[in-house]
């Protein structure tokens, strides 16, 4: 890892020195050993703060939204999932490809932060769930690549495919069991909207959950409103979720948000044919087009 850290620092320094970008967004070590929060570097000498380790979870693409009105270029590091998120923003017309320098990092998978916290630095910390199901560990779009083509091939070999066993387990419950399961989950929701705030598919200027004048949702924190939030958020990212798992990581109440997202991914694939979001920014979105031969169940 330290070798990659060195390369990251070098390339970041070079980019800033050459003026290729005014800001480089990467990761640095945080308060705890198991956290590597994002770092916003604008001076070449600060690039030594940058690191790459198994805890560089934050999806940096989302931060580009903060630089929408920034005149100069911004450079960011992208893992496979960050690059899908970048494509997501590109497809949603939220970023300008010309204004971003992408530095790809082939990623062999990160470690579970929560487990790390409880097991300690010497424990055998397992991979994060999202990484165990990662179909795209290598960046799909980049201007520079850490480790070159070789690393790309090496990492590509580690790719996994989600088997949706967790989704299937929920599907196999009775309706009442399912309802109880989800009620228990969303009764914990604080409606802090952290899941929304980190999500690269959530790029609205004004989220409907903040639109009190229309009255989509009340401010009360109760099961009914929480469930409205859960279902609506899920439908809003349907066909658009890039599976970066940031929503679930950001959730302070450990709500299994990806379990909803993955259900929609599974259904979209079964109903409308194979589709992975954030792969082709020019393609059609599953809910943005239709096929006359879609399954007919409403006769």
């Amino acid at each position: 890892m330290s070798e990659i850290t060195k390369k990251i620092q070098e390339i970041a320094r070079e980019i800033l020195e050459k003026g290729e970008a005014e800001i480089v967004i990467g990761w640095e070590k945080g308060t705890f050993w198991y956290l590597s929060p994002p770092a916003f570097i604008d001076k070449p000498e600060d690039t030594q703060r940058l690191v790459w380790d198994e805890f560089c979870h934050n999806n940096l693409s989302k931060y580009l939204l903060d630089y929408k009105n920034h005149e100069g270029k911004v450079a960011i590091f992208v893992k496979g999932c960050d690059s899908r998120a970048f494509n997501r923003l590109l497809q949603d017309k939220q970023v300008d490809r010309e204004k971003v320098v992408l530095i790809g990092i082939p990623c062999t998978g990160l470690k579970d932060q929560d487990k790390a916290k409880s097991l300690g630095p010497n424990g055998d910390i397992p991979k994060a769930q999202k990484c165990m199901e990662c179909k795209y560990p290598t960046p799909l779009v980049y201007d520079y690549l850490i480790g070159g083509e070789e690393a790309l091939n090496e990492v590509a070999a580690t790719k996994e495919a989600p088997d949706f066993s967790d989704v299937k387990a929920v599907e196999e419950m009775t309706p009442d069991e399912r309802y109880d399961f989800w009620t228990k989950q969303y009764d914990r929701c604080l409606r802090c909207y952290a899941c929304r705030n980190v999500c690269p598919a959530c790029s609205c200027r004004e989220c409907i959950f903040d639109q009190t004048r229309i009255g989509w949702i009340g401010k009360a924190n109760n099961s009914s409103e929480n469930q409205f939030f859960a279902l609506t958020r899920a439908m809003h990212v349907a066909g658009r979720c890039v599976e970066c798992g940031e929503c679930e990581r950001a959730c302070p109440m450990d709500i299994p948000i990806m379990l909803l997202n993955k259900k929609l991914i599974k259904d979209i694939n079964e109903l409308f044919g194979k589709y992975d979001a954030g792969i082709d920014p020019e393609g059609k979105l599953p809910l943005g087009h239709f096929d006359k031969n879609d399954p007919e169940e409403f006769m």
Partner: protein, 145 residues
């Protein structure tokens, strides 16, 4: 949910989102033809089934509706050419998502009913009303009130 739990004098309340050009006209035709059905449905007129935001459906359950039907023109017959094809995609997904969070499949349904299908309108309303009556009041997703 067992029959015992159904309160006395309870009547199901079912919301029907009907597109103006087909299903609303189909319901009008059922009326013109004097085809009787139980008075449990409330029709909400929208221009096209493609106007029905899934958030309206969840809201209805929150507020205490026992069942929701989204109905529009048959695929290929949409007054707005393609609206119902999007409806079909959206609600194929939405239906599965609702079931996934525990809503019984009978509670949310979607159907194509044309302006000439008065009898089909009657038959669909009869069927849904009976199904929901047998299940009792919906308590899922409801506001605590």
């Amino acid at each position: 949910m067992s029959v015992k739990e159904i309160p006395q004098n309870w009547e199901p309340k079912i919301l029907v989102f009907a597109c103006n050009w087909c299903t609303y006209a189909g319901a009008d035709l059922a009326g013109l033809s004097r085809l009787q059905y139980p008075p449990n449905i409330r029709i909400l007129r929208v221009p096209c089934s493609g106007r029905v935001n899934p958030q309206f459906v969840i809201r209805a359950f929150q507020r205490g509706v026992d069942g929701v039907l989204v109905a529009g023109c048959h695929p290929g017959d949409c007054h707005y050419v393609t609206g119902n094809y999007f409806t079909r995609r959206r609600y194929l997904l939405m239906q599965r998502l609702l079931q996934y969070v525990g809503i019984d499949p009978e509670r949310f349904q979607a159907r194509w009913i044309s302006g000439s299908e008065g009898p089909k309108f009657q038959q669909v309303v009869n069927q849904i009303t009976e199904e929901i009556r047998a299940m009792g009041p919906n308590r899922k997703l409801r506001d605590a009130q």
